[in-house]
């Protein structure tokens, strides 16, 4: 018996001497006057056995939430992964997240704060051999969304579910300083009698003075009508993305061009994610297209690349002005691939289209978007003050309501934003940060009734979606950190024009407040062990994480408690 115990202890000690275990615990609670309540517990448990020539790993993620901040209630094991890794092979079973190339065909993501998860439960493999890489994936992908197309819309609770079985492979190899890749992915949506075939080729070249990248994609979607006498045509779409970077000493100029026409639809059905069976899949992500803003007000104006129908260019110049200051100048322009117009003055009816040129159009019937963003960042000569200051202009047509010979009506947004941030290390104990953002925004309907009578001018009108023609927004945040332990934050946001005109008492998610104030206090027990208490209100709006955006409702006059601990 003693012998068995000793052998057992020896084995246990041997295994665990090479085993790492870590956990991350996160507990979140929120309660507000507008029923934005949640309570969530997450635990990530990771165990890995590290040997000289291979590694075994398991990740288990538990979630207990009732309700979560966003998404559906959960109680138990949410995700798992078991993996084997060595120099040439990786083999995974469980929740797989793969990215092929730069993600145009496959880029699986998990953003808890947006309830966006496009991972697959199944198998994933990667083989590497002398500059050649083969990726294989097979599994079930279950993603979900909130959409106004269906009833019971709630920005926090999904009402549209997508279940797919995916399988495919990606191969890339290095040839003479080029990296060339090709991939295919087959996607079945059994419940909808729908199948998609995606193919991609790409080329990547880095050199001393810059880099070049090109990716081309094709997507074919077929829907089986079954016993119904409905004909669903095959939808064949595609896209191309090009980017080129050149270095001039310490300066870098990056320019990119994209044309995506995966599922081109007229203005009436364009945003219908439920019925347009040819649309791009959530597990596809376009390479860079728009600037990813970190400032609060600008982030709310963020734009996502539309893989279904978009032509766009992006130019970015980055460089140092002097040893302490950097500048970034960005220009972005996009539009749909076609200009849409209707035959008569009615708001609904038949829609026709003209193809635009290969460049983005400025014509209002083409959903034009244009942005210029300039940012300076740097330090004072002593290095204890960091600042960031910017200037942003945006001009966008959101929606084409009518574009006929008699009436032209477009939903538009124009904005001008000045963001500023300064961070000061006052002394070795105190650190203070101030963030100030000012924004002037116009959003509403631009309508022109065209006169066909000589001597009578066209009748132009603008109907704001807000209670004022120009919305003036202010965001101010002050934070102080003491000794890397205590953090104190105060934030104030105000507007002269709320969303009450949009509301009509129909939808509780519209916020009729004009100012939002909050304060929070956080204590760090150590670097990975923190408790934060929050009281106040947060304005709702678009929340974007790494190119994925979602509308988040306001949090009105409530408390939040966040506790997180890394249990190493």
């Amino acid at each position: 018996m003693i012998k068995k115990i000793l052998i057992g202890i020896s084995l246990f000690t041997y295994v665990y001497s090479q085993t790492d275990i870590s956990n991350q615990l996160s507990v979140r609670y929120g309660d507000s006057d507008n029923d934005y309540n949640y309570s969530e517990i997450y635990l990530d448990t990771k165990l890995s056995l590290n040997r000289e020539d291979y590694r075994l790993e398991s990740i288990l993620t538990f979630e207990v939430s009732d309700p979560p901040e966003i998404g559906l209630n959960a109680n138990g094991l949410d995700r798992y992964l078991f993996g084997f890794y060595n120099d040439k092979l990786s083999f995974e079973v469980g929740d797989i997240y793969q990215t092929w190339g730069r993600g145009l065909l496959l880029n699986q993501l998990n953003f808890q704060n947006l309830d966006f998860d496009t991972g697959s439960k199944g198998l994933g493999m990667q083989f590497d051999y002398e500059g050649k890489t083969l990726n294989i994936i097979m599994g079930d992908t279950n993603s979900r969304k909130s959409t106004t197309v269906l009833g019971n819309y709630d920005p926090r609770v999904p009402n549209y579910f997508i279940d797919q079985f995916i399988y495919g492979a990606d191969f890339s190899l290095d040839i003479a300083k080029f990296n060339i890749g090709a991939a295919f992915l087959l996607v079945d949506e059994e419940e909808k009698s729908l199948s998609h075939t995606l193919t991609n080729v790409r080329i990547d070249k880095s050199h001393q003075s810059g880099e070049f990248f090109m990716s081309v994609i094709n997507k074919v979607s077929e829907k089986d009508s079954g016993d119904l006498e409905i004909f669903y045509p095959e939808k064949d779409g595609g896209g191309v993305y090009l980017s080129n970077t050149n270095y001039f000493k310490d300066w870098a100029l990056t320019s990119s061009y994209r044309k995506f026409t995966i599922d081109v639809n007229n203005p009436v059905i364009r945003d219908n994610i439920v019925d347009n069976y040819g649309q791009a899949l959530d597990l596809q992500r376009s390479p860079s297209g728009f600037y990813q803003h970190t400032f609060r007000l600008l982030s709310r104006n963020s734009k996502e690349v539309n893989l279904n129908d978009e032509v766009g260019v992006e130019i970015q110049l980055l460089g140092p002005i002097n040893d302490n200051t950097n500048i970034s100048v960005n220009y972005m322009k996009s539009s749909s691939s076609k200009q849409w117009y209707n035959g008569s003055g009615v708001l609904i009816g038949d829609w026709f289209s003209d193809k635009n040129s290969f460049l983005p159009s400025s014509r209002q019937g083409s959903y034009p978007f244009e942005e210029i963003f300039i940012e300076l960042s740097g330090y004072n000569p002593q290095g204890n003050i960091f600042y960031k200051v910017g200037m942003d202009f945006q001009d966008q047509v959101f929606n084409v309501l009518s574009n006929s010979g008699e009436v032209k009506s477009f939903e538009i947004t124009e904005s001008f934003t000045l963001p500023f941030l300064v961070n000061i290390a006052v002394n070795p104990l105190w650190n203070v940060e101030v963030q100030l953002e000012l924004q002037k925004l116009k959003t509403g309907f631009d309508t022109t009734i065209i006169s066909d009578i000589d001597g009578i001018e066209d009748n132009y009108s603008f109907n704001s979606l807000l209670s004022e023609e120009y919305q003036k927004n202010l965001f101010l945040a002050l934070s102080a950190n003491y000794n890397q332990k205590w953090s104190f934050n105060l934030s104030h946001e105000s507007t002269n024009s709320d969303e009450s005109l949009l509301d009509n008492g129909q939808d509780e998610s519209f916020d009729s407040s004009n100012d939002w104030n909050s304060l929070s206090l956080a204590y760090k027990f150590n670097s990975d062990h923190m408790l934060e208490l929050f009281y106040g209100s947060i304005r709702g709006g678009l929340d974007c994480t790494n190119g994925v955006c979602r509308y988040i409702q306001a949090f009105d006059n409530g408390i939040r408690i966040d506790y997180s601990r890394n249990l190493d």
Binding site: R55, F62, T99, N326
Partner: protein
């Protein structure tokens, strides 16, 4: 299920992660390599992204003093999305990050390293000695570089 949940929690707290994995990664010049080929006796590792202001501040400060630590390897693990690869390269070039045989930028596009180290929210900074994590820090405020230098000195002198 709650029992299972708390059983895992209890067992797991008894052990700690110390090893830095020898995972295969892609470098900024598109080459693939194993992480252990980039580390030295003492290494400085940071998870960062171009949109993360505290990360940029930390790296700017690191770049001011890292020349004094010839024997320390720097590995900056980038958490931008794969489509931003060109922008990351431009960013590094324009901010004069001293990429060389001892200063590496690696991509973590599939987020495997991020998941393994629970790196979100970033920055997460690790100091390694003989490929074992001996110091771990999340977040960065101006002035924190003093503590980072102290930890590097300690790792080199221990």
């Amino acid at each position: 299920m709650y029992r299972l949940f708390f059983l895992f929690l209890s067992i797991s707290t008894l052990f700690s992660q110390t090893n830095f994995p020898n995972s295969k990664v892609q470098l900024i010049d598109n080459r693939s390599t194993n992480l252990h080929s980039l580390t030295s006796e003492v290494s400085f590792v940071s998870f960062w992204a171009t949109w993360c202001i505290p990360c940029i501040k930390e790296i700017d400060k690191l770049n001011k003093f890292i020349d004094d630590y010839e024997n320390v390897s720097v590995i900056l693990i980038n958490e931008d999305k794969p489509g931003d690869k060109a922008k990351v390269k431009s960013f590094i070039r324009s901010r004069k990050y001293p990429v060389d045989d001892n200063y590496h930028i690696v991509f973590d596009f599939d987020k495997k390293l991020s998941r393994q180290f629970s790196a979100q929210p970033i920055p997460l900074t690790l100091i390694l000695k003989d490929n074992k994590v001996i110091y771990r820090k999340r977040g960065f405020y101006l002035g924190d570089e003093v503590e980072l230098k102290k930890q590097l000195d300690k790792a080199l002198n221990d």
